[in-house]
């Protein structure tokens, strides 16, 4: 660890003060010394393998590798003495002797550390011992994503280390000895046959052409590409990525984790979607021009025609039926700036609070539950903080698949000594890393959470000081959880009593403990209550507001935090300010220069579809969402959309929802525009334009700006930067955010002024509630609205898998990803499969009271007996045909995680 103390050392005759504990090589590089290195990376522990970074240290018998040097006071270092130079020359020659000289066809030509050094050290001659004469290894191109040609390997071990230290997979190890050693998979298996999760970090980090990205091969020479840093478009972790693109072809060539942002993605980390899921950008299906439905057919029109028509229809409907007859669905995949503009259109121009986005389907219960208890509905601690937690409870989060880069961090924390408790009905990957696994029945989370608190109170493990000083309402909760004894909870949930007690003790007794949760907690009728129960647990034990202790909901989409922050919620203005509060309304009237703003809470996205059915909503404006696929009870959604008088859909691809639109506005993807995303840890980060908008598409913010002007509102934003300036003026938690300040590293809100460095950990001294106290709220377990019975004997749970993303509009258009996971896999427990006579890969029909779908079965222990899991990515087997549209009464989130289904094997002759 770096501390304040500095040591004085001499480098090439000049004095320097170096912080104690600082890596010498890092220090030399930062201070402009040209030190060659091949096996060093800021994300990894140094091992001194390549010996290129050697320096001469006075008094030392041998040359010292600066990446592993121990720094002492008064040390005298020469970085470029004849001895150092000679050593590097010999070393490099030894490496080159084992490396082919086929740079002309190598994919890494121009981006190869070894090539650069060879050019520098032997500009007009050959290395001392020549090059590799005979190739020794066969090329492994079995993977969809990665090609390994170990003839080019220089044994720096970066691939072995990144896979182990950052990704936590250890697919590679150095096998054989000495000169013969090389990085190999287990038993030298082809990569495709290993457990490799295709994060691609080995290809990102390889200094030569030994490991390269398969989809990039032959796309463009390195001297033809340019680089732009941006934020990954997929999940809420918000990985910072360097996108290399060919400006001539307006296409992305490859993506690598940026080395600048250790705090977010370990200065290298990516997952398969972030690293390889980019080729959708230029997919032929892209919407390249606005479309207008004429006589039932979509025909390309000019932007003027499309926007004039949209504006005319919106005004017409507003005048005819009133402002609340129009609903707006914004997008967690659009930028803060775009979401801000859309809610501004809804509120300031149309005059309705009917604006919502897909957080309703994922974390609405978090926003509600945590606001009620803590006063702020967001992740309390930063991403990196998990490594300070002595005990981690992961409940209802399949972290390694849905937030892979964060999942790797959890695995690393476990390796470094954190104790992991998993509470989940499915045997997810994290179970392998857990000390304790509470396998509960779906929908019984609340009983378990109350049960844990019951044990903690019963064993007097509560934090009395914290409860008395920082909170209120504990007594009621104490009373409410009295009946949740281990035996009672065990009967409800199916979890062994002893495990419940042990989990409660582990959590309460730990000095620091963090709870991670996601959809498994929130997507229930009792979603908000589940979240409150988690908050109760954290407050009762004082596990909040400190490093390593917090409540951490993991957000699913790149900007789902931000979309809510900037006001795309029916009850909140930008910056979480209530629409019903008069002072807030006055403030926004001034800021937006309008006379009327509605003080009535708008409808949530699920309610909007009911309102369409009963005729209250006549027009719908959809930006980058696909409710047909993502909402529960698909046929209900379809019926509603058919009923609309007017619908406008803004998207990058045609999808199941755009079919119902009257106007389709062709938007540009996240790689084609500027803006910001706010990640799961509240960090506002830059999104940068990499490519020019594809076809005649336009960035959403530009479309919205043009529409605003057509709707009679003067909007003059030259760039998203100006929109952010406005956001920071109206929302106090964003007050200190500006593009200049987040140029290199994002800032975590609340950030209240330009001097404020942001807030890493929430609720440190007081909660964000009005009186600053955390509020205990008693919550009672109730049975899920639909549980298995004789007719529908199985639990159905829905969710995501590692390779695909949400409704698949992007990932299913990435060839390599879709080749790997082309079809839905219906996960069934082996015993159930046996009972039903189903074999792996058999086509099965899953039916609920709402509909039925077909797809191949995957027999796996991941599903417990009686539970079926279906990912919702696949339009041809839409899991949401089956789900129940019952919603949480507080947050209005649907219950995606529990419904009842039956399964039958489809006989071949039955198939149409």
């Amino acid at each position: 660890m770096i501390n304040e103390k500095t040591l004085s050392i001499e480098i090439d005759g000049k004095n320097y003060n170096i912080p104690e504990g600082k890596n010498l090589l890092e220090f030399l590089l930062e201070n402009g010394f040209d030190i060659p290195h091949l096996c060093y990376h800021p994300a990894l522990k140094s091992i001194g393998a390549c010996r290129m970074c050697v320096v001469e240290v006075e008094g030392s018998k041998n040359l010292v590798t600066s990446c592993t040097a121990e720094i002492r006071e008064g040390m005298k270092i020469k970085t470029n003495s004849p001895l150092v130079k000679e050593s590097r020359e010999v070393n490099l020659s030894l490496l080159l002797k084992d490396h082919p000289d086929d740079c002309m066809t190598c994919d890494q030509n121009g981006n190869c550390a070894l090539q650069d050094l060879a050019y520098e050290y032997f500009p007009s001659g050959k290395p001392l011992f020549g090059y590799m004469k005979e190739k020794r290894y066969e090329i492994d191109d079995s993977s969809e994503f990665i090609v390994r040609d170990l003839n080019k390997c220089i044994k720096c071990q970066l691939c072995v280390r990144v896979c182990d230290e950052v990704e936590g997979m250890s697919i590679y190890s150095m096998v054989q000895r000495g000169h013969e050693s090389y990085p190999s998979t287990f038993m030298n298996l082809p990569l495709a046959q290993t457990n490799c999760v295709s994060c691609g970090e080995c290809a990102s980090i390889c200094p030569t052409g030994a490991i390269v990205e398969k989809p990039s091969i032959g796309k463009a020479r390195w001297n033809k590409v340019e680089k732009v840093k941006t934020t990954c478009l997929y999940c809420g972790v918000g990985c910072q990525i360097d996108v290399y693109f060919d400006p001539k072809k307006n296409d992305i060539v490859r993506i690598q984790g940026s080395s600048e942002n250790r705090e977010v993605n370990d200065a290298i980390a990516t997952c398969v979607k972030g690293k390889f899921g980019y080729s959708f950008v230029n997919h032929p299906d892209r919407l390249k021009s606005p479309l207008l439905k004429k006589n039932g057919e979509f025909v390309p029109v000019t932007w003027d025609e499309a926007l004039d028509y949209t504006a005319k229809k919106l005004i017409e409907i507003k005048e005819k039926y009133g402002p609340d007859s129009i609903g707006f669905l914004s997008s967690a995949r659009c930028t803060n700036e775009e979401n801000y503009l859309l809610q501004k259109i809804a509120r300031a121009i149309i005059g309705t609070n009917n604006i919502d986005h897909c957080a309703r389907l994922c974390h609405a219960s978090t926003v509600a539950g945590l606001s009620m208890t803590f006063g702020a509905g967001a992740m309390t601690n930063p991403i990196g903080d998990i490594e300070f937690a002595e005990v981690i409870i992961a409940t209802g989060t399949n972290t390694t698949e849905n937030h892979p880069v964060y999942g790797s961090r959890v695995k690393r924390a476990v390796r470094n000594g954190s104790h992991l408790i998993v509470i989940d009905p499915r045997k997810i990957e994290l179970v392998d890393y857990a000390e304790l696994w509470l396998r509960n029945l779906p929908g019984t989370d609340l009983a378990i959470l109350n049960g844990l608190l019951n044990v903690i109170i019963h064993e007097n493990l509560i934090d009395e000081e914290f409860i008395s000083k920082r909170t209120e309402g504990f007594e009621e909760v104490k009373k409410a959880v009295e009946k949740y004894t281990p035996s009672y909870v065990s009967k409800i949930s199916g979890v062994d009593e002893k495990k419940l007690v042990k989990a409660a003790e582990m959590y309460a007794k730990a000095k620091t403990a963090s709870i991670l949760y996601a959809m498994g907690i929130t997507q229930h009728v009792s979603g908000t209550k589940n979240v409150i129960a988690i908050a109760n647990l954290a407050m009762a034990t004082g596990k909040i507001g400190r490093p390593g202790s917090g409540v951490n909901p993991l957000r699913g989409q790149s900007n789902v935090q931000g979309a809510g922050d900037v006001g795309c919620l029916p009850n909140l203005f930008p910056g979480n300010q209530p629409v019903s509060k008069e002072s807030v309304i006055e403030k926004f009237k001034m800021a937006w220069n309008v006379e009327y703003l509605s003080d009535k809470n708008g409808l949530t996205s699920v309610e909007m579809f009911d309102a369409i059915m009963n005729g209250k909503i006549k027009a719908l404006f959809v930006m980058g969402e696909n409710p047909v696929m993502s909402h529960p009870d698909e046929s209900h959604v379809r019926k509603a959309l058919e009923k609309l008088e007017f619908m406008v859909d803004m998207d990058i691809f045609p999808n199941d929802t755009t079919k119902y639109a009257h106007v389709i506005l062709a938007a540009s993807s996240g790689f084609e525009k500027d803006g910001t995303f706010t990640n799961t840890e509240r960090r506002v980060q830059r999104v940068r334009k990499v490519l020019n908008p594809v076809g005649n598409s336009k960035p959403d913010w530009m479309i919205l700006k043009d529409l605003m002007n057509r709707l009679g509102y003067n909007a003059h934003y030259e760039s998203p930067k100006e929109i952010m300036e406005e956001i920071s003026k109206v929302s106090p938690i964003y007050a200190g955010i500006s593009y200049d300040r987040i140029e290199h590293k994002g800032i975590q809100w609340p950030c209240r002024s330009i001097d404020d460095e942001g807030t890493a950990i929430l609720h440190q001294n007081s909660f964000s509630t009005e009186n600053g106290l955390g509020k205990f709220i008693p919550v009672e377990y109730t049975e899920p609205p639909e549980i298995p019975d004789e007719e529908y004997p199985f639990y159905l749970s829905t969710g995501r898998i590692l390779y695909q993303y949400h409704t698949g509009t992007m990932t299913r258009r990435v060839k390599e990803i879709n080749d790997l996971r082309p079809k839905v896999e219906i996960e069934i427990n082996p015993e159930d499969a046996k009972d039903l006579g189903i074999k792996d890969g058999d086509i099965v029909r899953v039916s609920s009271r709402r509909g039925s779908i077909e797809g191949p079965a995957k027999i796996t222990e991941r599903s417990q007996k009686g539970l079926v899991f279906i990912p919702f990515h696949y339009a041809e087997s839409p899991a949401n045909m089956l789900t129940l549209a019952a919603i949480d009464p507080i947050a209005k989130i649907p219950t995606f995680k529990v419904s009842a289904v039956k399964i039958e094997k489809v006989k071949v002759e039955d198939r149409v």
Binding site: S173, V175, S184, T185, F186, M187
Partner: protein, 162 residues
Amino acid sequence: MEMEKVEILRSRIKEVKTQQVEKGDMILSSLHLAQELFENSIPLEAAEAIAEELDVKIERIYELATFYSMYSTKPRGKHLIRLCESLPCHVVEGPQIEKKLKDILKIDFGQTTRDGLFTLEQTSCLGICGVGPVMMIDGDTYGNLTVESIEGIIEKYRGDRK
């Protein structure tokens, strides 16, 4: 048959786990056990069983199994012949012994006889230079080797075939 062996291996590893030794030593002992059961090599199933039983990454097993020359991940013969290649054995007619061995077995170093009975390997000094040239067959050492005595020794092991 193979599955049975894996089960035997698992139960032996469980015994190893009861010993008060470091995990690294447990892995090495388990690798030896695997070689005893699987004719001098460590097949995939055995490595998987060790990884599971000892809760280590399977790649680590492979790393160790390839690092030490006493282990092999490639199939080897039922009997392992290791001829000393060090200088003291070399100067007392080691090369002649080597030639004779190769003639009898009709294989080179690193190869296995067609009948799967013998694998011939080289080894560094076995520490009994006083009786060189020396070789080891499985766990037994043979010193003062002569071109004449070799055949008889090998024949003894051929008897096992029945």
